[in-house]
């Protein structure tokens, strides 16, 4: 259950990143290249690109590890996803 929660946070963060990129750049990252996705978001916000990097590395860890996510990892995922989603608040609604 805890890992599903982290997975949802990762996906929420990636989706938020895509919205931020679309809003500012007219494009979002496609495909599986993590570095390109982070570099694209960095053009919009270097700080949020670090949050995306954190989430993508947690996604990598979930893929490699057979162990449940630690409390620390859950907290990191929460903070990074929250900051990415909070960045959406600054976008115009029209």
């Amino acid at each position: 259950m805890a890992d599903s929660y982290v997975t949802l946070l990762v996906h929420a963060g990636i989706a938020a990143s895509d919205v931020l990129c679309c809003a500012a750049l007219g494009e979002h990252s496609r495909g599986q290249n993590h570095a390109e996705a982070i570099a694209l978001l960095a053009k919009v916000s270097p700080d949020r690109s670090h949050d995306l990097g954190t989430l993508l590395n947690l996604k990598t860890k979930a893929g490699y590890s057979h162990q449940p996510m630690s409390k620390g990892d859950r907290a990191k995922a929460e903070r990074s996803a929250e900051r990415l989603m909070a960045a959406l608040d600054a976008l115009p609604t029209t």
Binding site: I38, A39, G53, Q67, G72
Partner: protein, 214 residues
């Protein structure tokens, strides 16, 4: 790039891979030996490449009895560049180690693993890096944890710049690793078996699986 085939980064041909083999040592090789060391391409393809390179002067051939042996011509004007390119994998490891040395705190342990470590990368392969985060960071401030995350991010940017490859960082906390976890987890077992250490003690796995003393 394919770390095990550095010449493919500029010229994905059999000639480049032949040069990579010859650049490894000062020894002379028969065409058959070069073919065996390459593990790819046909024998005739390797032989033709050697003939082309001899014609260019980058490779010297010598008849010994009924056999012809080949060696890199280290006096050739291009030899320096050839040796530089052939040594890319070693330089990549040096850069990774130098990058980790600058971190504060340094990782408890870090290693290159996966296809980049095994030498069987395919086009599009990621560079897999395993990092053990110090336990002290769990009680550290948000700023210190952000600095750690920033170091990881910069390392991944650097890897992309140096190689053109995306990277996958598998990071675990020091306290997450235990004897049973290392023994039972297949990915950790493969990292222990095949990983190339980049930071931390080479005896890291022995200490982790047999417990710390003192």
């Amino acid at each position: 790039m394919l770390l095990q085939r550095p010449f493919a980064a500029i010229a994905p041909t059999v000639d480049g891979d032949v040069l990579a083999v010859l650049a490894r040592s000062d020894a002379s090789f028969t065409a058959g030996q070069v073919h065996n060391l390459m593990g790819t391409y046909s024998y005739s393809g390797v032989a033709k490449a050697l003939a082309r390179l001899v014609a260019q002067g980058t490779v010297r051939s010598q008849r010994i009895g009924s056999t012809t042996v080949y060696a890199l011509n280290r006096e050739h004007l291009a030899a320096g560049a050839i040796l530089e390119l052939a040594g890319i994998r070693g330089r990549f490891l040096e850069r990774l180690r130098a990058a980790f040395d600058q971190w504060e705190p340094v990782p408890v342990f870090a290693a290159l693993f996966g296809s980049a470590a095994r030498g069987d990368m395919a086009v599009g392969s990621d560079i897999d890096i395993f990092i053990v985060r110090p336990a002290a960071l769990e009680e550290a401030s948000d700023a210190e944890n952000a600095a750690w995350s920033s170091n990881v991010g910069h390392l991944q940017e650097s890897v992309l710049g140096w190689t053109g490859n995306d990277s996958r960082v598998y990071e675990v906390g020091e306290r997450e690793l235990g004897r049973d976890l290392v023994a039972d987890d297949p990915v950790l077992a493969s990292i222990r078996r095949e990983g190339i250490p980049l930071s931390g003690p080479r005896e890291f796995w022995s200490v982790t699986t047999h417990g710390r003393t003192g």
